[in-house]
């Protein structure tokens, strides 16, 4: 422990330097005086005595220096000196300091802000112990983005599987449920197995998990509630477990409370977990009720995802025997990590943004490196003097690095503040559906990242200036042109131009893709259309008769709304997906062969009231739309979309009047019309074929939720209030979600717009920084060449030829940067491919435009110093230096 004490003593020495110096002075003075007195006593004269004392004592200053060195930590001492020196240096040139710090802050701030968002998506561990061992597995099919498992398969697989330590499932679709006590609330309930929490390694915060006995059909009802619900609804009651609540009108025992950081593996916001009570049946008859499950598992130690997939493959192939033959080749098996399942397509965009922001950081660092190099050039003489006085190379490098690290850290501090602002901006403009965005914050982990980035950038941009060797020949006073550094600076600018060009090209691609997406033909007229989504609670409207009665009443009331051009009800709305669907192969037309090569893809259908086509401005291209008479049970009409009509009647055959049936349980219908195609599966995907069925006055289908569609010239707020009022007049507990159709459409472009806006922002920053960098280097070179330019002008060079000289030099590295940039953009743009809509990743037109912008910026930035070069006064220039 001795060294620790010494270190402590030295540390104190460092902190109370002045006090210790004074103490030592006093002590040494006393010593010398005592020596002098002694000498006087021995008979010397006072002057002689003092000299003798000095001689005996030895060098006072050397002693002090030795003492100082003994009591301090040399490295830290030097650091303090370096820091003071660096601070003084920055203080002396506030403009330089400000520009450098702002540039670094811009780079680090944007990097930190983006990192705080993508860290949650790409790197940070999920809130489960050993989260990297968790996987999701199941069948994949063209009609579903996530893997799923059918109930009977699940029962078989769970018994026979080998690669997983435990397997669990939940029933997707997080059903609404209602807490039916006083102040009833609508909640989200998830149906999970009793093995759910143990598989994810989660312990309830209070109480216990439900047992496998409680997870059986017809067992007494139990529930686990979320931490949030426990706080808000049950006032953090520690004795809640064991209490009975009323859930959907049935008594349910709360057995436990989930921990605060608990998260559903599909990132759903469920308030209550209830046992799924799967009955363990392996009934595979077509009439059996087949549950669809989301299945998760924890891998056994040492098993990789690929191994697990290989081990499950035989089980999957067995189950495939039960799949109707025509579907088999469309179904495959997949195991993927839980993270992959959660972030879905956010991965590409995350990497693109992270890459873009690192490019901004690189360009910012390059700019600061350039600034420092310029400053080092002007300080050559000072450094040469220090070398001549005996400063070692290492000492000078350390000094220079201290300076750049100080800049890095100061910039990092400002950057963290900037990151906070940027993050707030991101969150405010972000669309729905970016995983975990709401959790993003500048926390310790992100701050550590910012610190690491600051230090790395400090070293990165300091290195060039630090490693330059000061030449002692400079002291002779002869002119010395530091060509090597000039070259380094030009290389740095070349890098800037290349990187900026790549970003600019990427941003161009995304913007063009966004523009295409926003101007895509919807097939309908979204203007002045207002929609109201209405969801009926299952416990209040348990059967379709009651549901239908509600909507019937609502329709009757809304008909009298003033200023409404047209009104319609439908179960689902374009252009987002989510409509009911059937396979093409289930559709029959008499006299036509049924489609039998696979499922044929999904064919969507909606129930609509007659006003639907008019309200949304969907053209009826042939035949007629629905009429009120079609809503009586005797009429069985159907209207096809154009795409479906083409698919079913490929030879230009007349569809009108033909019979049509989908699924054996549905009766025959008559095709009465063909409507125009409408985007119904998001904006990017081609419109799925679909057909329309009339919304009947009698029970048919499933109507727990529906949309009211109103086209009206009056103010949306008035319409919204009217709909709310009329709905509340029938049943005040029914929630109504009002949306303006144009907003609803715009939401679909939210994700691409977000990515495009951010990438453009970063590209803009990059180009700005590169412009500043080019300006700096050209100005530096012009200053360096002032004398040469002066001589040329004196010898008769025209301003034009001087300008040409400056630009020729600049053109060389701009061209080099552009060449590398084009190459880089060409190579990198394929990473963007999955984000693009109707734009080729290698679009020469866009690349050319980006190049043009960059070259324009480069020449604009070069123009200012170049003009100065033209105006060099030869007399002044020759006297220069």
């Amino acid at each position: 422990m001795g060294w620790l004490r010494i270190f402590g003593a030295r540390w104190r020495g460092l902190l109370s330097k002045r006090q210790l110096d004074q103490d030592l002075d006093a002590e040494l003075r006393a010593h010398l005086e005592m020596l002098t007195e002694e000498n006087i006593r021995r008979g010397m004269s006072p002057v002689e005595a003092r000299y003798a004392a000095r001689r005996e004592f030895g060098g006072v200053e050397q002693t002090k220096e030795l003492h100082r060195r003994q009591r301090s930590i040399q490295f830290l001492d030097a650091l303090v000196i370096d820091l003071r020196f660096a601070l003084r240096g920055l203080g002396k040139r506030p403009a330089f300091a400000l520009v450098a710090i702002l540039t670094v802050a811009l780079g680090i701030g944007s990097t930190t802000a983006v990192f705080s968002v993508v860290d949650r998506i790409l790197f940070r561990s999920l809130p489960y112990p050993h989260d990297d061992r968790l996987v999701s597995f199941g069948d994949t099919a063209p009609f579903e983005a996530n893997e799923f498992v059918l109930g009977p398969d699940y029962v078989d697989w769970k018994k026979a599987q080998t690669p997983f330590r435990s397997v669990t499932s939940f029933v997707p679709g997080g059903a609404d449920c209602d807490l039916t006590e006083q102040n009833p609330v609508r909640l989200k309930c998830a149906l999970v197995e009793s093995s759910f929490l143990p598989t994810f390694g989660i312990e309830p915060f209070l109480g216990r998990n439900f047992t496998s006995e409680e997870d059986r059909p017809n067992a007494a009802r139990v529930a686990l509630i979320s931490y949030g619900l426990w706080r808000s609804r049950f006032a953090s009651d520690g004795h809640l477990p064991g209490r009975t609540i009323s859930l959907d009108g049935r008594p349910t025992v709360v057995v436990g409370v989930l921990p605060a950081q608990f998260e559903m593996p599909n990132l759903g916001h469920d308030d209550i977990l209830v046992p799924a009570a799967l009955d363990g049946s392996t009934d595979r008859r077509p009439t059996a009720r087949q549950t669809i499950l989301r299945v998760f598992a924890r891998l056994k130690p040492g098993i990789s995802i690929q191994q697990a997939a290989a081990a499950m493959q035989p089980l999957f192939e067995q189950s495939l025997n039960y799949v109707p033959p025509q579907f088999r080749h469309e179904v495959s098996f997949r195991v993927r990590s839980l993270r992959d399942r959660q972030i879905q397509d956010a991965r590409v965009a995350s990497w693109v943004l992270l890459g873009a922001v690192l490019a901004v950081l690189l360009v910012a660092c390059t700019n600061v490196a350039n600034l420092l190099l310029a400053r080092a050039t002007s300080r050559m003489r000072e450094l040469a003097v220090r070398t001549a006085l005996g400063a070692s190379r290492g000492r000078l490098v350390r000094q220079a690095l201290t300076e750049s690290l100080l800049l890095g850290v100061l910039g990092g501090l400002a950057g963290c503040w900037f990151a906070q602002l940027l993050l707030r901006l991101f969150v405010s403009i972000a669309p729905d559906g970016i995983p975990r965005l709401e959790q993003a914050s500048i926390d310790v982990r992100v701050l550590l990242f910012a610190l690491a980035v600051s230090l790395c950038s400090g070293i990165l941009f300091g290195l060039g200036a630090a490693l330059g060797r000061p030449a002692p020949e400079l002291l002779t006073g002869k002119e010395n042109r530091p060509t090597a550094r000039g070259l380094l600076r030009q290389v740095l600018v070349t890098v800037q131009i290349a990187v900026s060009l790549m970003l600019l090209a990427g941003a161009g691609l995304l913007l063009r893709s966004l523009w295409k997406l926003e101007t895509v033909a919807l097939g309908m007229d979204a203007n002045s259309v207002i929609t109201a989504g209405i969801d009926l609670a299952a416990y209040r409207y348990p059967d379709s008769a009651k549901q239908l009665a509600f909507f019937h009443q609502l329709e009757a009331r809304l008909k009298h709304m003033p200023g409404v051009t047209s009104l319609a009800l439908s179960d689902t709305l374009p252009p987002s997906g989510g409509m009911q669907a059937t396979f093409l192969s289930s559709i029959e037309i008499p006299g036509h062969a049924k489609f039998s090569a696979g499922t044929g893809g999904m064919i969507g259908y909606r129930y609509v009231t007659p006003g639907y086509f008019r309200a949304l401005g969907i053209p009826i291209q042939r035949g007629r739309g629905f009429a009120e008479e079609d809503r009586s049970p005797r009429e069985r009409p159907v209207i096809l979309s154009e795409a479906l009509a083409k698919k079913l009647f490929p030879g230009g055959e007349e569809p009108l009047g033909k019979s049509f049936r989908f699924g054996l349980q549905n009766g025959w219908r008559t095709i009465v019309g063909v409507a125009g195609d409408v985007k119904n599966n998001g904006l990017a995907a081609p419109a799925d074929p679909e057909f329309y069925l009339p919304w009947k006055n009698e029970t048919e289908g499933y109507f727990r939720s529906a949309h009211v569609i109103v086209q009206s010239a009056i103010h949306p707020q008035g319409v919204a209030d009217w709909i709310r009022g009329e709905t509340a007049a029938i049943d005040p507990t029914v929630p109504v979600t009002i949306e303006v159709m144009t907003t609803r459409v715009a939401k679909l472009t939210g994700r691409p717009r977000f990515t495009a806006v951010l990438l453009s922002l970063f590209a803009g920053m990059d180009v700005l920084l590169a412009g500043i960098g080019i300006y700096g280097v050209v100005a530096f070179l012009v200053t360096q060449q002032t004398r040469e330019i002066g001589i040329r002008i004196a010898l008769g060079a025209t301003p034009g030829s001087v300008l040409g000289m400056v630009f020729r030099n600049m053109a060389r590295w701009t061209a080099a940067g552009a060449a590398f940039g084009i190459l880089g953009a060409w190579l990198c743009s394929r990473f963007l491919e999955s984000l693009l809509f109707e734009v080729r990743a290698h679009d020469p037109f866009l690349l050319g435009a980006a190049l043009l912008v960059l070259v324009a910026v480069a020449f604009l930035a070069g123009w200012i110093p170049a003009r100065r070069a033209m105006q060099v006064d030869p007399m002044m220039a020759l006297r220069y230096e």
Binding site: A26, H31, F57, Q62, H67, R71
Partner: protein, 114 residues
């Protein structure tokens, strides 16, 4: 002829200072220097200034401690005294020094005797 003056080895100086403080009790730097010269009868000639870094080193190791006080002629001076750790250290160093001198004596005595 005057005997040649010995150079002061660093470890030796430490030992001498500790031994002096053990014998004389609390002393200021000047006193220690005087005492060292007196005892060594000018065999050892040290620049008195070099004493101070040594004192600091010993203090940092916790073997001595210092306190401001008044000297005989009422001058403000810093007094150094041995700590318990210092006493133990002195004992250790004396032992090792004795071992070393015994070894040297045997080595040199052996060659003389042969």
């Amino acid at each position: 002829m005057a005997p040649p003056r010995g150079e002061v080895l660093q470890g030796t100086l430490d030992l001498i200072v500790l031994q002096t403080l053990e014998l004389m009790g609390p002393l200021h730097g000047y006193g220690i220097a005087q005492r060292v010269q007196q005892v060594s009868r000018d065999l050892l000639k040290l620049n008195q200034g070099t004493l101070y870094p040594a004192l600091l080193r010993l203090e940092q190791r916790g073997w001595i401690c210092s306190k401001w006080g008044a000297s005989e002629n009422n001058r403000k001076a810093k007094y150094y005294s041995l700590t318990r750790a210092g006493q133990k250290q002195l004992l250790r160093e004396t032992e090792s020094w004795e071992r070393m001198t015994a070894l040297m004596a045997r080595l040199l005595g052996g060659t003389e005797g042969a």
